[in-house]
């Protein structure tokens, strides 16, 4: 699944570690999500969407 997490994070000027801390996950989890190796759970996807003030559909594209 494609997602715009990296773009949103970079727009905020955060490192992967910064985002990981805000989401209460490891930096590796953020990296795996950004590179598309891992699709987050629904609760984590909601946390990401809430953090960036976007809807889940805007951030995650299930078509890819």
């Amino acid at each position: 699944m494609n997602n715009g997490v990296r773009a949103l994070r970079e727009a905020k000027g955060w490192s992967q570690g910064d985002l990981a801390e805000r989401l209460d996950v490891s930096r590796q989890t953020v990296n795996a999500i950004e590179t598309g190796k891992y699709d987050p759970s629904l609760p984590l996807a909601f946390r990401i969407a809430k953090l960036f003030r976007k809807s889940i559909e805007v951030i995650f594209d299930p078509q890819a």
Binding site: V25, S26, R27, Q28, T29, K37, Y38, S41
Partner: protein, 132 residues
């Protein structure tokens, strides 16, 4: 990178606790195998023979807590590693038992659990590599 993943959900206390438990396990298994008397009251012999189980159960509990406190990717990695270890380990251990039953190999069954743990460790390494 692997070190970072290992440390992500772990604390210094975890490492010291696991080190202590493994040390205790090594000591008790040495005592159970080499020092425990071959004669005496059955209760004492049984307790002596099973004494390595206590630190082993402590270690299992510690691992359970570590995985419970890990984030979701880490838990997924552990689950994948566990499944790979079982898929590889069960046929191998069964073959080991069958060959032993046929009198073709003579290996102490005590090595079965460490073999499974080794398979789990290798599978963990592979699972981490997949999500690197």
């Amino acid at each position: 990178m692997f070190r970072e993943l290992w440390c992500a959900g772990a604390t210094r206390r975890y490492w010291w606790s696991s080190f202590g438990l493994l040390l205790l396990y090594t000591l008790t298994i040495f005592l159970a195998l080499k020092v425990a008397p071959a004669s005496g009251p059955p209760l004492w012999r049984t307790l002596g023979a099973l004494s390595p189980l206590l630190p082993l159960l402590g270690f299992v509990h510690l691992e359970y807590q570590r995985i419970r406190s890990a984030d979701e990717l880490r838990q997924r990695i552990e689950l994948e590693a566990c499944m790979i270890a079982l898929v590889v380990g069960i046929p191998l251990l069964t073959a080991w038992g069958l060959l032993g039953n046929a009198g073709l190999v003579h290996v102490n069954p005590l090595f079965a659990a460490p073999s499974l743990v080794a398979a789990y460790a290798l599978a963990q390494f592979y699972a981490y590599w997949r999500y690197r």
